[in-house]
């Protein structure tokens, strides 16, 4: 867990550095080595790490538009994920998806840029497991801003009535872009929404990875034993803006400072020390994580960009004849990339 969290935090720090390159002095979203929007999850690590520790590769996770920490905890290929974020040909999606649309079928991970839209596919993965009598489970991760969406509420209901092996994990960071939580819901404890659907609900009040781990162990165990879905809410904190470049003028400074003072990673490090883990061992984990991240970023930056003609591929797995007007030579593109 600790290594997943350290990896995710350092990964995002490095992404932030790379993202800002070329975008200064005047911030231009389409400039620099990482194009498009970038939503960082610093402060959310405990939720992903504590939950994913109980998952296997054949369990499905759908993440929201803020996906990196979840992807890392789920075991997504770090190098190819990084190449995707840099828009490279060897990225997970060949540069077509980008940071909000990461797919790694090897570990059954997907994410989406549309709020709450990962919930129905997670229900579908749970449905498939149940129909096939398999004991895999599905986890849908979403933000507290997503709990007003129909897709979330409808998914809770469907998972409940079908008794599907699905765990819904709300990462409550108190902010939906500029909207504080108290202006989007009158129910402070989001896990209470489970009551309306006849499923268990549990809230972890503070982003304590160990407490998340314990709560997730119950929820995922219940799903795996065919005892139906659970709704979990984990209080996390948002250390940065909604997206890179967000000036956060709507947010009180005190709130930002409070979020930055809280640190689930340091908290877990303290817990580890209290449990007898030496500082040297903790430092070794950090170094290993940093090396892995640095290596992934260096590798990704070395990867070739896609060929323009690659844009026409992958609309269909089985393209109707005559659909692509500009058939790319993929072998050529790949061999050029290897040079």
């Amino acid at each position: 867990m600790f290594e997943d969290m350290v990896t995710a935090r350092y990964y995002e720090e490095r992404l932030q550095e790379e993202y800002l390159e070329g975008k200064q002095p005047a911030f231009d979203i389409s400039a620099g080595p990482i194009p498009g929007e970038l939503h960082l999850a610093a402060g959310h690590e405990a939720a992903a790490a504590g939950v994913c520790r109980h998952l296997r590769d054949d369990d499905t996770v759908t993440a929201p538009h803020r996906p990196h920490h979840v992807a890392i905890a789920k075991g997504v290929d770090l190098k190819r994920m990084t190449a995707e974020i840099f828009g490279r040909q060897t990225g997970l999606s060949g540069g077509k998806g980008g940071h909000m649309h990461l797919f790694d079928p090897d570990v059954n991970f997907a994410c989406s840029g549309i709020i709450a839209e990962g919930c129905p596919p997670a229900v579908g993965a749970g449905l498939a497991a149940k129909k096939r009598n398999e004991d895999s489970v599905a986890v849908a991760v979403l933000g507290e801003g997503a709990i007003s969406q129909g897709a979330f509420l409808e998914s809770l209901n469907l998972a409940a009535v079908q008794e599907l092996p699905v765990v819904f994990v709300i990462e409550d960071n108190d902010w939906a872009i500029s909207m504080p939580k108290d202006r989007i819901t009158d129910v402070e404890d989001g896990s209470r929404r489970a009551d309306g659907f006849g499923m268990p609900g549990v809230r972890v009040d503070y982003d304590d990875a160990t407490a998340v781990y314990d709560a997730a162990k119950d929820a995922i165990g219940r799903a795996r034993a065919d005892n139906g879905p659970t709704l979990m809410e984990v209080q996390v904190h948002r250390r940065m803006g909604h997206f890179m470049g967000d000036p956060q003028s709507y947010r009180p400074d005190a709130d930002t400072e409070a979020a930055q003072e809280r640190d689930s990673i340091e908290r877990l490090a303290d817990d580890l020390r209290a449990a007898g883990v030496s500082d040297d061992d903790i430092e070794a984990i950090r170094e290993r994580a940093h090396d892995r991240v640095d290596e992934a970023i260096e590798w990704a930056k070395d990867q070739p960009e896609p060929e323009p003609a690659d844009a026409h591929e992958d609309v269909f797995v089985n393209p109707p004849s005559g659909v692509t007007t500009d058939e790319p030579n993929h072998e050529l593109a790949e061999s050029e990339g290897d040079d």
Partner: protein, 341 residues
């Protein structure tokens, strides 16, 4: 001409400032006008579509709403049917799928299904467009989707002047209007606009009538019909082509519903050559519609027709691929040249 001729003005506004000026004016004039959407109050709209409105009008009339498009767009329909004049913002047009039922089964159809006894005087504002590498769920224009489904008027401004006049008209209109603004034209700091959308804008209110295409550049050799960001790309291509003595007329449709085919057909009558440019997908969209209208009415005049649009692929993330599929000035220039071969 219904359009009030603007006075000569020096003051230039960005497209977002011009839009907001019209909204603020209508809100001052009519207490029934209000604005709601995600991050429209404290944030001022992610694309500055409501910058400063909350400060003047407060939270009651500039409402931040939970992320729940079905609920608040449907609520706008209900408030409009109750006689108010809501403006509801869908942050990105790509999110329409979350709430399309409220848009096309209610907002767009209730007037018809009620035999005209119900009206839905609301404006649905929404950001469109790519060119900033944000991939397939945040980069579409979807002009054709909204224009295809009957019952919605569809507005696509390309300049600050048009944005203000069209917004006044949209709010005053008794029918639902979909007002699609291109992010790259708004004049926001983090997404630099091309030259062009920032124009002189009169202080006083004025309207740009729906169904009045605007000839943004007069020319005699080839007619280029387009809208939104691509008006500026077509103008850029026209300047390059002018150096080779090719005189291009650039028509900005400004509204898709109603569609001003008359201006297009008149121009084709002069040039005989038509290029239609769209940032939306090629099939079943604006390019097909314009070419079909031209073929129906002016087949004999047409010597050449070219379409320039996004091939039928979702918008890719990586720069080389996005550049490949979104037409640029060079693509337009090449299409114009092909009409003369």
């Amino acid at each position: 001409m219904a359009q009030q001729e603007p006075q000569a003005v020096e003051r230039e506004l960005t497209m977002s400032r011009a839009m907001v000026e019209a909204i603020a004016h209508e809100m001052r004039e009519d207490d029934e006008v209000f604005y709601m959407g995600e991050d429209v109050a404290d944030y001022g709209g992610i694309f500055d579509s409501t910058e400063g409105l909350r400060e003047e009008f407060g939270y009651d009339r500039v409402m931040d709403v939970p992320i729940s498009e079905t609920a608040y767009l449907g609520a706008a329909v209900g408030a409009a049917q109750a006689g108010m004049r809501p403006i509801a913002e869908l942050m990105f047009v790509d999110f329409f799928g979350v709430a399309m039922d409220q848009i096309y089964n209610q907002m767009a159809k209730n007037t018809y299904m009620s035999g005209g006894s119900v009206s839905v005087p609301m404006v649905l504002t929404t950001a469109v467009g790519g060119t900033y590498n944000d991939a397939a769920q945040h980069s579409q224009t979807l002009y054709g989707t909204f224009a295809h489904l009957p019952g919605m008027k569809v507005v696509v401004p390309s300049t600050a002047y048009d944005a203000k006049g069209l917004m006044h008209n949209a709010i005053r209109d008794d029918d639902p209007v979909v007002y699609m603004f291109h992010k790259r034209l708004m004049g926001i700091g983090w997404m630099p606009a091309p030259d062009g959308p920032k124009t002189p804008v009169p202080d006083e209110p004025y309207t740009v009538p729906f169904g009045s295409a605007d000839v943004k550049r007069e020319g005699t050799d080839v007619t280029v019909v387009t809208l939104g960001l691509h008006v500026h790309r077509a103008l850029e291509a026209a300047e390059t082509l002018a150096e080779d003595g090719i005189d291009v007329e650039v028509i900005d449709l400004r509204t898709l519903v109603p569609l001003d085919t008359e201006t297009v057909l008149e121009s084709i009558g002069e040039t005989g050559r038509l290029v239609v440019v769209d940032e939306d997908y090629r099939s079943f969209g604006v390019t097909g519609e314009i070419v079909a209208s031209a073929a129906e009415e002016r087949l004999a005049d047409l010597e050449a027709v070219e379409r320039v649009a996004v091939p039928d692929v979702p918008l890719p993330y990586a720069r080389p691929m996005e550049d490949e599929v979104i037409p640029d000035a060079e693509d337009i220039e090449a299409a114009v040249r092909r009409t003369r071969e």
